[in-house]
Symmetry: C2
Subunit: 392 residues, 2 copies
């Protein structure tokens, strides 16, 4: 075990009192305990996870890129800490509430990657900025700069978010960028340090060449915006963006100074399908969703206890990771159950454990309060997903 059971229990707070969690805590460190985790459960194979962290850190170092993993994938302070210990400069957070949770957990360098709006956002952003030693936030509108400048308690580092062409967030062109730049420059407490350009839709494109073409297109747009900002007097030190799927192309383009991958630490079916045979896909499946067979009354399939509430359902279907069930078809069987075909010639028992590759890691982990960390067949730690549901 990596830390004392008493500390694990204390960090879980009220969750430690739930009957199934209390029972699981009692088995910590025991041989075979990994197989007895109450399901459905998020389970990380620490050996594979650590190899993934080391591999991405080495790739970033070799490419001369700062590594700032995205905590929207895991929402977990303990994971963020391990990423920083393995060479990351800090984390990205998708939303304010996620950053508030990371800040409460002591993460010292945080970039918020989404613009925000509404009655409370600037006050909350200013408060979390004061609590984090190295805080950064993106803006994509002049009004947002005015709101944040008015709420700021001290200096706040900001970046201009640049739309990579997908139209989700960010300024569309140099004119909009210059407008935001002037609004930032008018706020004494805001300090522009760079730009962000993240192509979310590029990450899962199948084929390294297709992803490289999309990146090249987006980076050409970004370079034009950066040139216009510099001409207007902006100092652009940080150029942040990129994800697990576009690392090779981002490194080759040489525009980014910092990358924001998230899924590389865990992997999922979407990435496995899209990146197979790519250097970008050279990460191990460290995350499993564990399930249990609860009904064996049917001749051709069994029912497991993991359904629509156990997985994200925006991607492909979950696939079994447990070797006995390799290649066996799963489908959703309502909110709380899944249907798993019987593997040929092998009996399946009530109570049998089956692990699955999740379809899409980020919205899947966002369904779990806890992540179970295992080494071999031993459950060595249980950590809280502090920012679960923190999309506000």
């Amino acid at each position: 075990m990596d830390r004392p059971a008493e500390q694990i229990r204390a960090d879980l707070g009220a969750l430690a009192d739930k009957p199934h969690v209390a029972a699981t805590l009692a088995s910590l460190g025991q041989p075979g305990s990994a197989a007895r985790i109450p399901t459905p459960a998020a389970v990380i194979d620490l050996d594979a996870f650590e190899r993934n962290l080391a591999r991405m850190a080495a790739r970033a170092k070799a490419a001369g890129l700062a590594l700032r993993p995205h905590s929207k994938s895991h929402k977990t302070v303990a994971i963020a800490r391990r990423q920083v210990a393995a060479g990351a400069v800090g984390v990205c957070c998708a939303k304010l509430a996620e950053a508030e949770a990371m800040a409460a957990g002591g993460v010292a360098s945080i970039l918020i990657t989404s613009p925000a709006a509404g009655p409370l956002w600037a006050m909350r952003a200013a408060a979390v900025a004061s609590a984090v030693p190295d805080f950064r936030i993106v803006l994509d509108h002049a009004d947002a700069a005015a709101e944040l400048g008015a709420a700021a308690q001290g200096p706040i580092q900001v970046l201009i978010d640049v739309d990579p062409g997908m139209g989700r967030t960010g300024v569309r062109d140099a004119d909009q960028a210059l407008e935001v730049f002037r609004a930032i420059a008018a706020q004494p407490k805001l300090k522009l340090i760079g730009v962000q350009c993240y192509g979310g839709s590029w990450q899962h494109m199948e084929g390294a060449n297709a992803r490289a073409a999309a990146v090249a297109d987006g980076m050409a747009r970004l370079k034009a915006v950066i040139a216009a900002l510099r001409e207007a007097g902006a100092v652009i030190e940080v150029v942040t963006g990129g994800g697990t799927g576009t690392f090779e192309a981002d490194a080759a383009q040489g525009v980014l100074t910092e990358v924001q991958p998230g899924s590389y630490a865990f992997m999922d079916r979407e990435y496995r399908d899209a990146l197979k045979d790519d250097p970008d896909g050279a990460f191990e499946q460290s995350l499993a969703i564990a399930a249990t067979v609860i009904t064996t009354n049917q001749p051709t399939w069994v029912t497991v206890d993991a359904g629509l509430k156990a997985f994200s359902t925006d991607g492909p279907l979950p696939v079994p990771l447990t070797p006995k069930f390799a290649g066996v078809a799963y489908r959703y069987f309502g909110d709380e159950h899944g249907r798993l075909m019987r593997p040929e010639g092998q009996p399946v028992e009530r109570g049998e454990r089956v692990d699955f590759v999740p379809p899409h890691v980020d919205p899947t982990l966002d369904r779990y309060d806890l992540i179970h960390l295992v080494r071999g067949d031993v459950l060595v730690d249980i950590v809280r997903v502090e920012a679960r549901g923190a999309s506000q």
Copy 2:
């Protein structure tokens, strides 16, 4: 407000300390506070919700059926209490962890509607049975009866789960039912009180006639199993099943003694699409997922802060509930965002609030830690979704 702010705050526990929750608590009871809830958020219109509860209670009473709403839809003790106060006999829970949360909240009559298996289930079921004045659980295998009988601390009421023909859980036929009955009879602490037969796949069939035909088919199977059990000496007092979509057909068949609807209290897009013009669909949309416009840089659409993590994605797409955006298309824009087309001829501002009809209520509410209760434009209460994620 229905209860004092201090009590609301105390019941939220550690959640009350999150910055956006603390700010929201400070606005409780103020005019216009409903419009300032940080988003994405689950929001219930109490007036519509209370009319839904009263309407289903009246239908059940008129049909002579006990009403046992399913807490898998809401996972929230405060909602369960309101359902019981409005005439329900207790609640259904899908899983043990859900029942443990309802029991901890003081719900006095609980039926667990899924069979369970694995190393801890019988111990946990026996523990929760001891804590709940009127506890009931379904079984669908002889081994489960033996396991529960061995773990039982006192008498436990059990029901035999009968497969309605979808093959998810339950005994397939009279022979399997008799096997489970004999295993129950061999356990002195287990008391058979009835059977369960729930056709989950029937609930969203479009057209009352299609649903009635499916119910008739399933009830014919169920009647044969009940007859065989009674012939073998079983006392079958409770026949439980049915959902929001099949109430009329269930009442007409006259086999059930108790119904288990869940979605009627909230409604969602799946039910609205399938049950329109039916008596089964005569419930109001009381639940909204509230979102905020965070980017307005594009000419034809805006970006809201609710994406794949804010909704269930197994059903149809969310649709706007806010009148200004009626009929306007939403699509997912990644984990944390949605793309909403601009309504014709009406400007949309950064920070504007947009409410949505969720696609499928159960897996959507299971993403939220809190439900905001509003009356008119006033936020009157915030309740914890205690059993959120409790699928173990």
